[in-house]
Amino acid sequence: MADKRLTLDEFVAELDSGMTIGIGGWGSRRKPMAAVRAILRSDLTDLTVVSYGGPDVGLLAAAGKVATAVYPFVTLDSIPTDPHFKTARQSGTLEAVEYDEGMFYLGLLAASQRVPFLPTRSGLGSDVLEVNPSLRTVRSPYDDGEELVAMPALTLDAAVIHVNRADAAGSGQILGPDPFFDELFLGAAARRFVTTEQVVATDELAAGGPLQSLCISRLLTDGVVETPGGAHFTACVPDYGRDEGFQREYVAAAGDPDAWAAFRERFLAVDETGYQVATREAADERAAARAAKEGA
């Protein structure tokens, strides 16, 4: 079997400015954040980002990387909206393509199946059709004659997802309760990348969880990057939950230009190892501050 292991730098080198890039996960859950941070450090620009959006969209927008965002929502889960995405929308600095969650799923599925669209009731009557004037409806060729939305394939130049375990050949294992739509992001993309908490031997995959957790096959994978803590600060259960303290710090910093500059300097202007060290130190500082407050 081919060894598909890459470094984060080699992953970024596979991408080009102007690409349409799908990002797996959901909201602030199991996002390939190490890959996002690697894109932030690169000179890539003018991207179309396709995502069940979380801080991936917010961070890329804040760095001016995003020309177009394609999404059904952008949320931090425990905090309803991402501050950078809000700012980008409210200042009109990115183009927004907003779809219903189910339409979005069908767009990925259509791309995975190499068909131009899939029909759905979802979207009919809503402003999704008004704000995306290129969307069309299609009439059933059968006796029912129903008129449905023709959700176009969301074809991706590249996709990246984050999983708990993978082998070097690109079989991936998701140990958390929800695989979301990660398999479809890979299926919809020309170049497919999986970041993982840990690369393990193939025989350790089935030993590590039920067969259903082995839901990413190497048929869907071109590159594997080992990134321990690579979903931080989003949740990657059972390896770790969302770092709520850090997420709050992210949101607070976004509200003030000086604070954001300091946040960027400390957490984003460093390489991935530096990020992991800095966020652990930040967690210790928050714990110390809490202890001091309780002691006072």
Binding site: K86, S126, F181
Partner: protein, 258 residues
């Protein structure tokens, strides 16, 4: 003002039973409920008059019974795996009854959770349309608005996320086939669309609220019947469940003040 400490029924408790009524008579469907009063309403219904209702754990599973608010994951009895991708099978099959929240709702039942102001450059970007467009044309949907005002009850929402009656009718039979906006529950009353032109109607006011207050807090011409009912009292069993089983910490009274 009454509150649960002196035995009086709080406004939040009226809201919870009004939300429970959303689930009456539906049998074995998946209940999804956003907000504290809807979460309590679905649980109340499950434990009383809608025993076949199927509740979720808020993550990726269906649960047995009706766990209290904030129950630890370890305490839940799981019935079935329900990851997001499978949720859409349920949505599109129609076997779901949902209470969503609405940043704006309008006279014909359109809901907005996407953005306030012009689309190209909104005054406020909200969470996004989420599943609202698909939910509303596939299964019964109701709304919960804990802050009834002329800012939330508007003549026309800025971005139609959830589809109301007029928009569904204009989109044609495929949009109306499974469309039902059952109730809108707010902190002031309960509303439905039982009017000839499917305009929003005041169905009941919560005890302690006047019809004038509701009309004044609504940014469009609400249909007001000659006799407006009061939202029903919780039964003693429902009150007991709310106060001692489902929400002993009183989260409901933080969402809606009496």
């Amino acid at each position: 003002m009454t509150d649960s400490t002196d035995g009086g029924i709080t406004r939040a408790e009226y809201c919870a039973v009004a939300c429970a009524e959303v689930f009456r008579g539906d049998g074995e469907v998946m209940a999804s409920a956003f907000g504290t009063a809807p979460a309590l309403g679905a649980r109340l219904a499950r434990l009383t008059f809608a025993p076949d209702l199927v509740l979720t754990d808020g993550d990726a599973a269906l649960v047995d019974g009706a766990p209290p608010l904030g129950a630890s994951p370890a305490s839940l009895v799981l019935e079935s795996h329900m990851p997001y991708r499978r949720v859409f099978d349920v949505v599109w099959s129609g076997r779901r009854n949902l209470i969503m929240m609405a940043s704006q709702i309008d006279r014909t039942g359109n809901q907005n959770i996407s953005a306030i102001g012009p689309w190209a450059r909104p005054k406020a970007q909200l969470i996004g349309v989420r599943g609202a467009p698909g939910n509303t044309v596939n299964h019964t949907t109701s709304y919960w608005v804990p802050n009834h005002s002329t800012r939330s009850f508007v003549e026309q929402v800025d971005v139609v996320s959830g589809v109301g009656y007029a928009r569904a009718a204009a989109a044609g039979p495929s949009a109306t086939k499974y469309h039902e906006i059952r109730f809108v529950v707010s902190n002031l009353g309960v509303f439905d669309f039982a009017t000839p032109d499917r305009s929003m109607r005041l169905a009941s006011v919560h005890p302690g609220v006047t019809v004038d207050e509701v009309v004044e807090a609504t940014g469009f011409a609400l249909v007001v019947p000659d006799d407006v009912a009061q939202t029903r009292d919780p039964t003693p069993e429902e009150l007991e469940l709310l106060r001692t089983v489902l929400d002993p910490r009183g989260l409901r009274d933080r969402e809606v003040k009496s």
